[in-house]
Amino acid sequence: MTNILEVRGLTKRFNEFRAVDDLTFSVKKGEVYGFLGQNGAGKSTTIRMLMTLIEPDSGEIEIFGKKLAKNRKEILRNIGAVIERPDLYKYLTAIENLRIFATMSGIKVSDKCLMEQLDTVGLAARAKSKVRTYSQGMKQRLGLACALVHNPELIILDEPTNGLDPQGIADMRNKIIQLSKEENKTLLVSSHLLNEMEMMADSMIIINKGKKIIEGKVSELLHPEVSVIELKTPSHHSLSELIGKTEWASCLKMHSGDIFRFEFNKDRISEFNKQLVLAGIEVNSLGPVNSLEQFFLSQTQE
């Protein structure tokens, strides 16, 4: 698959503070790419640089195989974005907002097309209501409609589930997956929620303090071949003896009180459990630890 977006060595400072620090990543065509990090990690600053709202101090951005700095207008014509809050013209109606953003993206659309677009986000019935009367969820959906109205190839959504209720979050997630899987759009979605990314992203990057921590396929990052397996047992003396006599000794990575951590393939958990039962070792809990979540928290929390 070809890369739709390539970022190389992107850096942005605000006085002495490095908001984005030598960031490099790439997004492939047709995938949902998760952009993960705590609040203030540099996600929005990066997105603003992708949208040419902020000028990078150094680094390169290539979108659709072209340098952003030299082909700004051409590239932006093919990007739809919702950056942070979906702020729109509150004194205008939904259809008026949509028409403005369609026109500014260089396309002419009929009212019928605009209504169809509003229908896809469930706002057709409120098309002629002023945006100031909308709930947060409705604004979020209208923001998405404005980002999609010109049928862009790359869609950038900055914290799209912020402020939504559980149903709104599920709807947004389904819409993102539908755009990717059914319409073959490429989406860059930022969030600070790992579980959100797990449910919709194909690949992802985790950043902290503007730096890349890890990048890769979600399936590989969240479900690695070798997992960290955690065992809690009150029989820790017996377990230590058992382990000393078996091949599991080479898998033991940590032991603290009644907690033992091993590294081996998850498929071998039942085999390990069987040996524990046969040896008469009491087990309080046994299972894989979400290593990425542990890793994310350990890297991003002070």
Binding site: M51, T52, L53, I54, K73, Y91, F101
Partner: protein, 294 residues
Amino acid sequence: MFFTLLRIELFKIFKRPRTFIAFAAVAVIVVLVQFALKLNGKDFIELYTDSQTDTFEIPYEKIQNGYFVCVAVLHMILIHVPLLVALIAGDMISGEANLGTLRLLAGKPVTRGQIIMSKFFASTVYVALLLVWMALFALLGSILLFGTEDLVVFKETDLHIIRSHDVLWRFFAAFVFAALALTTIAAMALMFSVFSDNSLGPIVATVCVVIIFTIVQQLRVPVFEETVNPWSFTTHMLGWKGFFYVEKTAEGETINGSIENPAALVKSGLVLLGYIVLFLAVSISYFRKKDILS
């Protein structure tokens, strides 16, 4: 694309209720002045003719006509209209930043220069429409209420008498000049707007600058008369009055179609144009580099 942007900007301006405050204010002020002059026009004219009542008899009924009332309205109103223009132009960029729509606007396939220019021209159209509105009320309304006669204009102790058939083109020219003056204010408010992320700051800053320069101009002390006033835009904004000062023959007869000091008018026009170019250049160069964080 530029005209598309301009159309969008005008659509946004005229969809906001605050836009119509200025139109309502102008209508109210003009009607108030016309009402006052209808009832107490003689007292008003006496303020100007005090020193001349001993020399000859003043024909108040003839002086108090539609043209005279319109000039009086312009004298009063054009001092205050800049505040109304600042209300719209000062909100052009900062209002978008405050609303959060600036990042959507700047993330579209248009240049930052195009954004500024479309907003500037939208402000100019707004100014022009405001002046057309003012002309309708102040000129047309006054003609209907007071009728037409020769226009008498007071310039300090001097009297300028313009024949009624020589008046209308002067009003047209004066309104065009006033449009240029108010466009200068719009350009300045837009410039302040580029530097700010809240709506109020640029509006207040514009109003303060106009007040400061107006006070400096009215002090009439040599230190300002020789240094600041020749180049202050508030001095040149009053240039429209020049269209109502006429040349006279040696016998004191008005020369039809003449202007007393056309060179001063041209200078004022050029100074105002220079300010507009300066304000726009500053706006564009700053906005092109501005990190949009709102």
